[in-house]
């Protein structure tokens, strides 16, 4: 018996973001290049570059997942998608040793203080990726009484990865965007906590990096 015989349907054309939009991954770099045209101190600049190369290529995630997106995050680490290729596989269970937190899954009112505390426990410099609709806006649970409508209310988010849940490829793309962003930050006098006061530091972390280059 043939299966597809019942109703042959023509293939549905899926509307999506055009592929060329995914190809301008360098837009961050370009923006910074423009801003840097006046020149920076050579020594500091070179040192910064070396440090940022190291920081950008060595981002260790915190093992953190609350729901569906967590399973996809596990898939990213597993054999087919293998985030180890980018050196991202050293998932640390202790927040002290992690560099960024993938907030994978819905954050509820009860979880919000815990998440904030986890973030506070991480050592600087630290980053946040919001994965999935729930962390971006509350997603399908936006009207619930117990769901935080977007974790940007409580944490400074660096990268948003939309989806419900995002595909592993999307997560990889998001993590690579974070790598780009890290590589473009200035370590000295910017994300190095010791040089500025606590409050100013928080401010700077929240601000978009392109604003103070």
């Amino acid at each position: 018996m043939e299966v597809g015989k019942t109703k042959k349907k023509e293939l549905v054309k899926i509307k999506s973001i055009p592929y060329k939009d995914f190809k301008n991954n360098d837009y961050l770099e370009e923006m910074v290049r423009e801003l840097h045209e006046n020149g920076v101190n050579v020594v500091v600049g070179a040192l910064d570059e070396a440090i940022n190369w190291g920081r950008g290529n060595s981002l260790w995630p915190l093992t953190f997942a609350t729901s569906c997106c967590g399973i996809e995050f596990m898939s990213v680490g597993a054999a087919r998608y293998d985030m180890a290729r980018f050196g991202l596989e050293v998932a640390r269970a202790s927040p002290r040793q992690a560099d960024f937190i993938m907030v994978a899954g819905t954050i509820t009112d009860k979880m919000a203080p815990v998440l904030k505390r986890l973030y506070d426990q991480m050592a600087d410099p630290k980053y946040v990726i919001a994965v999935g609709g729930c962390t971006i806006s509350g997603g399908p649970f936006k009207h619930s009484y117990h769901v935080v409508k977007g974790i940007d209310q409580i944490l400074p988010v660096d990268v948003f990865i939309p989806g419900c849940p995002p595909r592993p490829e999307a997560m990889l793309y998001g993590m690579m965007q974070l790598q780009r962003k890290v590589k473009l930050q200035r370590f000295f006098g910017d994300v190095n906590k010791k040089e500025v006061s606590e409050k100013e530091y928080e401010e700077r972390m929240k601000r978009d990096m392109t604003a103070n280059s």
Binding site: V3, G4, F64, G70, I71, S144, H146, C164, P165
Partner: protein
Amino acid sequence: MSVQNKISQQFPTAQIEEKSDRLIVSINAELLREMAVMLYNDKELRFDFMRSLTGMDWGEAGFGVVYHLESTEDIKRQLELKVVIPDRENPFIDTVSDLWKTALLNEREVYDYFGVIFIGHPDMRRLYLRSEWKGFPLRKDYVRAEGLDMTNEEPDDSTVTWYRDKNGVPRSRRYNLFESGEYVVNIGPQHPATHGVLRFRVSLEGEFLKKLDVHCGYIHRGVEKLCESMTYQQTISLTDRLDYLSSLQNRHALCMCVEKAMGLELSDRIQYIRTIMDELQRINSHLLFFATFCMDLGALTSFFYGFRDREKILDILEETTGGRLTMHYNVIGGVEEDIHPNFVKRVKELLAYLPYALEEYRKVFTENIIAKNRLIGVGHLSREDAISFGATGPTGRGSNWACDVRKRIPYGVYDKVDFKEIVRSECDSYARYLIRMDEIKESMRIIETLIDNIPEGNYREKTKAVIRVPEGSYYTAVEASRGEFGVYLESRGDKSPYRLKFRSTGLPLIAGIDTISRGEKIADLIAIGASLDYVVPDIDR
């Protein structure tokens, strides 16, 4: 004497209504205790399995609690007990948690949702929400207070219990769960082995576990309340996100419930597709179980093996449904799209491949001496306890309780296929593990039987754009990957449900975790938790 006669003899005021699949008994709150004791103890009735416990807000009529009872001796004995609590200001009701232990957490849930206080319950705290939370969210007149409370939770181990004094007036008493001087360790909510955000307060004596207290609600998303403001077509999107590893099955349950209520007849093709999909999902879920189970026991490589093979199933599911995790495939009246032309071919390829994968798992983990030492005899759950806690699914079957909904109350085309219900009598973690491994094989057999015989027909029956379900209450269950997933729907004839309750597969499991793990070592707690295979968003809903 029939069940009906017996009840009406003992309780003349009880209203009894007979339905095709169950008996509905409505009583007032005062009678509950007496009736519960009779239903549980009477030799001829012996309703020893509480399938579901639902809190209700019936507006003017007061609050209510609905108990779904079943006798494990005779599947035909099904009972829905509706209890009305007329007093809206001070809703009190007697506990039944000493008879059915599954009520321990379920009654706390009802208290959390509706503020109904259960007298005699040993631990009347909120289950999901923070203790400072104002109001009871599932009451129809609930308005959420503004703002987000960002203060840290204080570790508070005191709890409250209610009793009646000699005049019958309810009184409360506070006490501490842990004695002072106990070494209490907090595991979770952010902990690699809790499979999400579950929190345990564990009292340790060296490496041994003295007592365990479960805190849930860190991923409580208020799905049931959300459903009350959605149309039926919208509600089905939320079931995928409860137990995301049984998303197809969960949705099957809800769709089936609504279809049954509307009296919608489905074509055989739909039933076949749904059954095959359910079984694919079950294999998928059990492979993930294998992966995480091994990871929790420290065998990291096996984790990758499980995931590697799971991707193959996801490919098939993705081709037809378009999703990897939240599939959105079942809809009311059928399935979203017809199966992909490649579907049959690829499923057959998968069926040919899986035995090799299973053989590899056997070599690398099942037969491993360390794994056996870690699992055999660890985490004993007796049959009585399993029934009392309502721990269905592979956990219950590992405790020698044949509780498979596919056999008990067949749905889909399960009555047309020949498959074994795997039951083991060892009652330990290893049994629970082996059952899942064997169930993969049974699921493969089911798919093998069905895949070549998918009949022609509609893949989706016509339904109206706005669905209105006739007034009444409906309960449907499916066998999800980790147990009985039930949907209790009460409709008032509107376009959205009046109350929609999901019987969580995970809540009974964690209710029993204290009993299972007491006296074991802390490392065993991880093994036990992994072998129960709960999914936290399904517990918290």
